[in-house]
């Protein structure tokens, strides 16, 4: 059986800096895979390559046996891969509900003619979509903040909203870029529980995470990236107990 997502032989340079250097890895369906490594290891670049935000110089990505080469960002989302951003990128002048609605695919009235010439159909579909968006907000624990503007949400709530927004796309493979960074202990438990819940619902997660305690608690599999190259792959315990990797992680060896 072919891998769920396979990154093979990917190279990516920015000018003289080689961000990804012959990167190869595979992830398994239904698992939570954590991508760890020191700053500048290429973790976000990997996300950008998988989701079509950056074309790789060489190499490629296959998802469920199909190559993603040459697909647009939009087509990749439709294939079932969606991502969050490290710097959130929420629509701060829209409500939490509208942020989720904006990511639900294939709505009636998303074209000017649909909106203008089929107003009743559009309104009827919107009522259903709103219901769906509310369920998603409820799922991440933000049901009571649905009508609040994003700028009035706490940082932790904004991070949950980012997860709600990727869920709204209907994607199966979720790429979460540091979903737990900067969160308080209570919020941390929340987001870890949410990730576990998503896993039991059949989602596959690829998560960039710095906090080793979070990695130990959620990761089924850990990928250790260093200087754009996959250095090690294993369970959280294997990776965290390796003294060599710890040295790299904390800046010992170059």
């Amino acid at each position: 059986m072919s891998a769920y997502l396979a990154v093979s032989g990917v190279n990516k340079s920015f000018g003289g800096l080689q961000a990804l250097h012959d990167t190869n890895f595979e992830i398994t369906k239904g698992k939570i895979t954590c991508l760890v490594g020191p700053n500048g290891a290429g973790k976000t670049t990997i996300f950008n390559v998988i989701t079509g935000f950056l074309p790789p110089d060489t190499g490629g990505v296959t998802f469920q046996g199909r190559s993603l080469d040459g697909l647009t960002r939009q087509q990749i989302v439709h294939q079932g891969i969606a991502r969050t951003f490290q710097n959130l990128r929420l629509f701060i002048d829209l409500t939490a509900l509208d942020n989720v609605l904006a990511a639900i695919p294939g709505q009636a009235g998303e074209t000017p003619w649909g909106a203008i010439f089929r107003p009743f159909h559009t309104a009827a579909v919107q009522t259903r979509m709103r219901e769906q968006a509310r369920e998603i907000l409820d799922h991440v624990g933000l049901a009571d903040r649905a009508n609040d503007y994003v700028r009035n949400l706490s940082y932790g709530e904004q991070k949950l909203l980012c997860v709600a927004r990727v869920l709204a796309t209907g994607a199966e493979l979720l790429l979460l870029d540091e979903p737990a960074s900067g969160m308080s202990a209570g919020a941390l438990d929340n987001i870890m529980a949410l990730m576990r819940r998503l896993q039991t619902e059949g989602k596959t997660l690829l998560v960039v995470e710095h906090n080793t305690r979070v990695v130990q608690r959620i990761a089924d599999e850990v990928l250790f990236l260093h200087q754009g190259h996959l250095m090690a792959q294993g369970t959280a315990d294997e990776i965290t107990s390796d003294p060599e990797l710890a040295k790299i992680y904390f800046g010992g060896a170059i």
Binding site: F85, F91, A102, A115, A168, T169
Partner: protein, 287 residues
């Protein structure tokens, strides 16, 4: 009474144009200073077509609207490649180019002398000759325009456009087609501006390049800023307020040369004052 009717008809035409500018600049965030050029193309098309009896008013207006649509898609295409400040400069160039054509293409536009004697609209055999009748026509068209704008903005399409203005990358990450959303918004705005132009020419029975120059584009932006960006109410209030200004100045006994200059001065001061003290305009959101 005709004085008031004239004021309202002109204001209504500018509201239609204001909706177009608000859609593009306020909602999508494509900062265009060339909307007056599209307005002008609509005006000249209806003028030329109805003057030679080539077409009657209704099909001429439809063609003006379609040309406005096509033209606006063409002029906003660079905005899909260059962003923000760069696009302002590009659209500035487009506006200057349009003015040059309006002024110098004497056979088509009458050059600086303009095109006099545009016949009044003829709606399926019913001639709209009096200002009162024109008011009905412009009110009907404006109501349709407002309805279309309102429907589009309350639908997912409106939300998509707002989201694009806030963060294009995030919209792309949600799997939405940004190119299509922007191009279709430009098309809608162009159709509005083109038909506003057609109405304008047949109402005044005269068009010349001075109505469609850079000053006119800036006046339009001032209307959007003063009325309020991104809302229907704001788009309606702006033109009514700003067009009242010359009427008020006409009541004051000052020489016409000074009146024209002081009008420009007041527009300028208003624009600065609103930007500084009330960026959301009278009834809008912060630009």
């Amino acid at each position: 009474m005709d004085f008031w009717y004239t004021y309202i008809v002109l204001a209504e035409i500018y509201v239609l144009l204001g909706l177009s500018t608000n859609l593009l600049v306020g909602i999508v965030g494509i900062f265009s200073v060339s909307q007056a050029a599209v307005f002008g193309v609509g005006a000249y098309i209806v003028a030329a077509a109805t003057m030679n009896d080539t077409l009657s008013f209704v099909p001429a207006l439809l063609i003006a609207s379609a040309c406005g649509l096509a033209l606006n898609v063409l002029v906003t295409l660079p905005s899909l490649r260059v962003s923000g400040d760069y696009f302002v400069v590009t659209s500035f160039g487009i506006q200057l180019l349009a003015t040059a054509i309006f002024t110098n293409w004497t056979e088509g536009t009458g050059g600086a002398n303009g095109l006099p004697g545009i016949p009044p609209p003829d709606i399926f055999g019913l001639a709209v000759t009096e200002t009162r009748q024109f008011l009905v026509l412009s009110s009907v068209l404006l109501s349709l325009g407002c309805l279309a704008f309102w429907l589009a903005m309350r639908a997912p399409y409106g939300r998509l456009l707002r989201a694009i203005r806030e963060d294009e990358l995030a919209v792309a990450a949600a799997g939405k087609n940004i190119l299509f959303a922007k191009v279709s918004a430009a098309a809608l705005a162009g159709a509005f501006a083109g038909s506003a132009g057609g109405l304008y020419g047949s109402f005044l029975s005269f068009v010349d390049p001075s109505s469609f120059d850079l000053d006119a584009s800036i006046l339009l932006l001032t209307m959007v800023v003063v009325g309020g960006a991104r809302t229907l109410t704001g788009s309606i209030i702006g033109p009514f307020v700003l067009l009242a200004l010359p009427q008020l100045l006409a009541l004051v006994d000052i020489p016409t040369t000074i009146a024209a200059a002081s009008r420009q001065l007041i527009y300028g001061v208003l624009l600065i004052a609103f930007m500084l003290f009330r960026p959301q305009g009278l009834a809008g959101e912060k630009l």
